[in-house]
Amino acid sequence: MTEIPKVPKIVYDRLQAAQPVVQDGREPAHPDADLLTAFAEQALSATERDGVLEHLAVCGDCRELIALALPDADVASAPIAGETDTDKVRAPGSRAAAPAPRKLSFAWPSLRWAALAAGVVVAASVLLMRPGKLNQTTSPVSPQVATTAQPGPGSQIATSQNSQNASSPIPSPPMNQSVFSAKTDARRPESELPLSGKRKAVTPSPQVDPGMLLADNKQESAQADKLAAAPRAQAFAFDASASRAANETVEVSGAAAAETTPSAEGNLMARNEAPAIEKAKPAPQGTDLSGQQKASVAPTPAPSRARTATSAAKMAMPAMAFPASPALSRHVTWAITAGVLQRSLDSGQSWQSALRPDHPLLCYATHGADVWTGGQAGTLFHSADGGVTWVQMQPSIKGQQLSADVTHIDIDVDVDVRGPAEVIVFTSNNETWSSTDGGKTWDKK
C-alpha cells in the first residue's frame, strides 16, 4: 500500500480546534446510540448521514465511540449470505457489506476446491465400494458439484412474468399524517392473521446450490400454508406514478414464483425477478410494466393460486406497495446470497432476487440509485436506477478485457468532481479497473 502523504501541522491544529457548535450556551448535542448505530450500519438517509458526519468531523468523543463500537473485523467482514436469522442480517446499507467480498475472494476458490475434493472423495468411495460401475455411480455426483460451483449455466431456469394472480386490484392505502393510530376494535379479515411467529428471512448459504435451496423452500411452504389460515398477497412493487421519479414499474414478487412449474429433478429455479433485469438486457426506458404487473398490494386475501409459491419463496415476505421514491432508496438493502444479488425493501426482513447472472456474483457497491455488482469470470453489472434495469459491463482497455473474478467494488464520490462517481473494480489477480463516466471508458492499474 502506498504511503499516505503527510499534511502540514496547521491542519492538525485546525482539525483539533474544531469543536461541535454550542447553541444557547448548552452542551453540544451528540447523536444518540440509535443514530450512531444506524450511521455505522449505513442505514441513515443521505441528509441524516451528512448531519452525523458533520458532527463526527468535529467531535473526537463521538469518533472514539464509533470506533470502539465497530464490530470485530471478522464479524464485520462475514458474508451476509451465510446469515439465516433475521437478527443476524446486518449491513442494511449497500456499502456496509463492502468488506465482505474480500473474504469471499478467498472463500470462493476454496469452496471450489472443497467441492472438487468432496467430489473426488465421493467418487473414490463409490469406486472402492463398486469398482465395476464407475461411470454409473459418478454421474449423479458430477452435476451437483457443477451446480455448487457455478449455479447459473448449469441449472435450468424457469422465468415467470405473469403475476396477475398475485396482485390485488385494490390500491395500497397511503398513510396519512396521523398514521399510527390503530383502533382496538378494528376487525381484521381472517386473511390478515399475523404470520410473524413464523417469519424469518431465509438467505441461503453460499455453499448450497440456490436451485436446490429454493426447492427446499417450496417443500417447507406446504407447512407454512397449513399454519397460515389464509396468507395474504405478498408482493413487493415499485409503483410508477407520474409524480414519481422512476418511469419503470417493476414488480418483484414472491407471487411471481407461483407460476413456476417445479422440476422433477428439483433443480429448476423460479426466477422471480422482473424481465427488466434479464441478463445484459436493460429494459427500454419508460416501459411501463404495470399493465401486466400492477404494483398494488392491499390487505385483502390473495387468490388461492398464489398461495403455494408466495410462501414457498420464503424470502418474499409480506410488504406494502412502496413507491420508488428517492426517499425509499435509503431503505433498500442489498446482499449477495449464493452468487445471486438480493434486495430487501424492509431492512433485511425479507429478500428477493435482483440479479442472477450466469456466473455467481461476489460483491456489490451502491451509491444512491447507482448499483454495481461483480462476480466470477469478469462478471460486472451496473444499474443506474436502483436495480430496476441492469447493463452488463465489459471493461476493456487496449485489447485487454476484465476477465478475472471481481472481488470488490468501490464507488468513490468525489465532491470536487461534478458528474458520475468513480467506480473502482478490484479483481482476484490484483487488477484495479476504474471508470469515472459510469462505465463507458475504463482505466486499468
Binding site: P5, V7, D13, A57, G60, L68, P71, R90, R199, S325
Partner: protein
C-alpha cells in the same frame, strides 16, 4: 400517546396494522395500540413537528411511511416488549443476545473480568434494575429500530465503557501520576503571554484562516476521514469499515485530500497577499513550532516551574509520526 384513529381513516388503520403484523409484536403481548404508540413516539422524535399535526404535508406523510417501513420492526417489538417486562420477550432476548453481549464487551474491553462486569452492568440497565419512584425503567425504551438491536447494544456498551474509563481516569492515584512522570512535564505555554513579532502573528492568522477555509470546502466525510486518520490515529481499515468503503479507497482519498489541502492552503495564502515563496515557507515552517519550542526550552532551563499545578496539554502530534499503516 397518539390520538385515536379517526373513523374516516381506514387506510391509516390498515397501514398501522400491517406494520404491527410485520413486527410480530403480538407474540410478545404488545397490542396494536401500544405498538402504534411506540411508532408515534419514534416519529415524534425524528419528525418535527408532531406527526399528528394537521399541518403535516403529504410529502411528510410519505416520508413517515417510508421511515417506518425502514425500521427494524421485529427487533423494535422485541426490545419494547422486554422493556415492558414480557417474559417471552426476555427469553428470546437472552437466547439471542446474552452471549453476544459478552463477546462484544470482550471485544471492547480486551479483558475478561472487565468484559463480564461491563456486560452484566448493561444487562442490569437493560432490565431496569435502577428503579425510580418505584418504576422500573429499562434502557431498551431508548431503542428506536433505526439500526440493528445488536449494533445498538454494541454502541451502548462502548458508551458505557468510555464513561467508566473517563471516571477512572479522573480518579487516578498520585502514585500513578508520579509513575507517569507528570511532575516533570514542562509548563504549558500561555499563548496570550507569547511575545511574537506582529508579522508572525499576521502570518499565523493568515495561515489559520487559509487552512480553515480549505477545510471548510471539504465535505463532512472528508473532514471525518482526515480527523480519524491524522488526529485519532485510526487505521485505514477502521475508517474504511466505519464508512463502508474499501481500505484502498480511503488510502486514495487521503492521498487526494492531503495534496488538495496543501494546494488550497497555498492558494488561500496567496489571496491573502503572500507571494508563492512566502506561502510555501509559511506552510512548511509553522512559526508557532519555533516559538513554542523555544519557550518550552526556556521554561525548562530556568526551572521556574518544576511542579506545575495545571493539567498538561496533550502535545500536538508531530507531522513526522503520521504513518499508521
Amino acid at each position: 400517546m397518539p390520538k385515536p384513529a379517526q373513523s374516516g381513516q381506514p387506510a391509516d388503520v390498515a397501514a398501522a396494522l400491517f406494520l404491527y403484523d410485520r413486527s410480530g409484536a403480538a407474540v410478545y403481548g404488545v397490542s396494536a395500540e401500544q405498538f402504534a404508540a411506540i411508532l408515534n413516539e419514534i416519529l415524534h422524535k425524528y419528525f418535527a413537528p408532531a406527526p399528528n399535526s394537521p399541518h403535516s404535508s403529504p410529502e411528510q406523510a410519505q416520508q413517515m411511511s417510508d421511515f417506518c417501513a425502514g425500521l427494524r420492526l421485529e427487533e423494535l417489538a422485541l426490545a419494547r416488549a422486554c422493556a415492558e417486562g414480557n417474559e417471552r420477550a426476555w427469553q428470546d432476548f437472552i437466547s439471542r443476545y446474552r452471549q453476544k453481549l459478552h463477546s462484544m464487551a470482550l471485544h471492547i474491553t480486551r479483558d475478561g473480568a472487565h468484559a463480564a462486569e461491563l456486560a452484566d452492568s448493561l444487562f442490569a440497565d437493560l432490565y431496569g434494575v435502577n428503579a425510580r419512584d418505584g418504576l422500573r425503567r429499562s434502557k431498551l425504551v431508548f431503542y428506536t429500530g433505526r439500526g440493528s438491536l445488536e449494533g445498538w447494544l454494541r454502541t451502548v456498551l462502548a458508551q458505557e465503557f468510555i464513561n467508566r474509563y473517563r471516571k477512572q481516569k479522573r480518579t487516578v492515584s498520585l502514585e500513578e501520576q508520579t509513575e507517569a512522570g507528570v511532575q516533570f512535564a514542562a509548563a504549558v505555554p500561555d499563548p496570550a503571554a507569547t511575545l511574537s513579532p506582529t508579522s508572525d502573528r499576521t502570518s499565523e492568522q493568515r495561515l489559520e484562516a487559509a487552512t480553515d477555509e480549505a477545510l471548510a470546502e471539504l465535505s463532512a466525510e472528508d473532514r471525518f476521514t482526515l480527523a480519524s486518520y491524522y488526529l485519532d490515529g485510526r487505521t485505514l481499515a477502521e475508517i474504511a469499515r466505519t464508512l463502508g468503503l474499501h481500505e484502498s479507497s480511503i488510502s486514495r482519498r487521503l492521498d487526494r485530500l492531503a495534496t488538495g489541502l496543501r494546494k488550497r492552503i497555498l492558494a488561500g495564502l496567496r489571496t491573502r497577499g503572500m507571494s508563492h515563496a512566502q506561502a510555501t515557507e509559511a506552510l512548511e515552517t509553522d512559526v508557532r513550532d519555533i516559538r513554542l519550542n523555544l519557550r518550552s526550552r526556556l521554561t525548562q532551563d530556568s526551572g521556574a516551574k518544576a511542579f506545575p499545578g495545571g493539567r498538561g496539554k496533550v502535545p500536538a502530534p508531530d507531522a513526522g509520526d503520521t504513518s499508521h499503516d
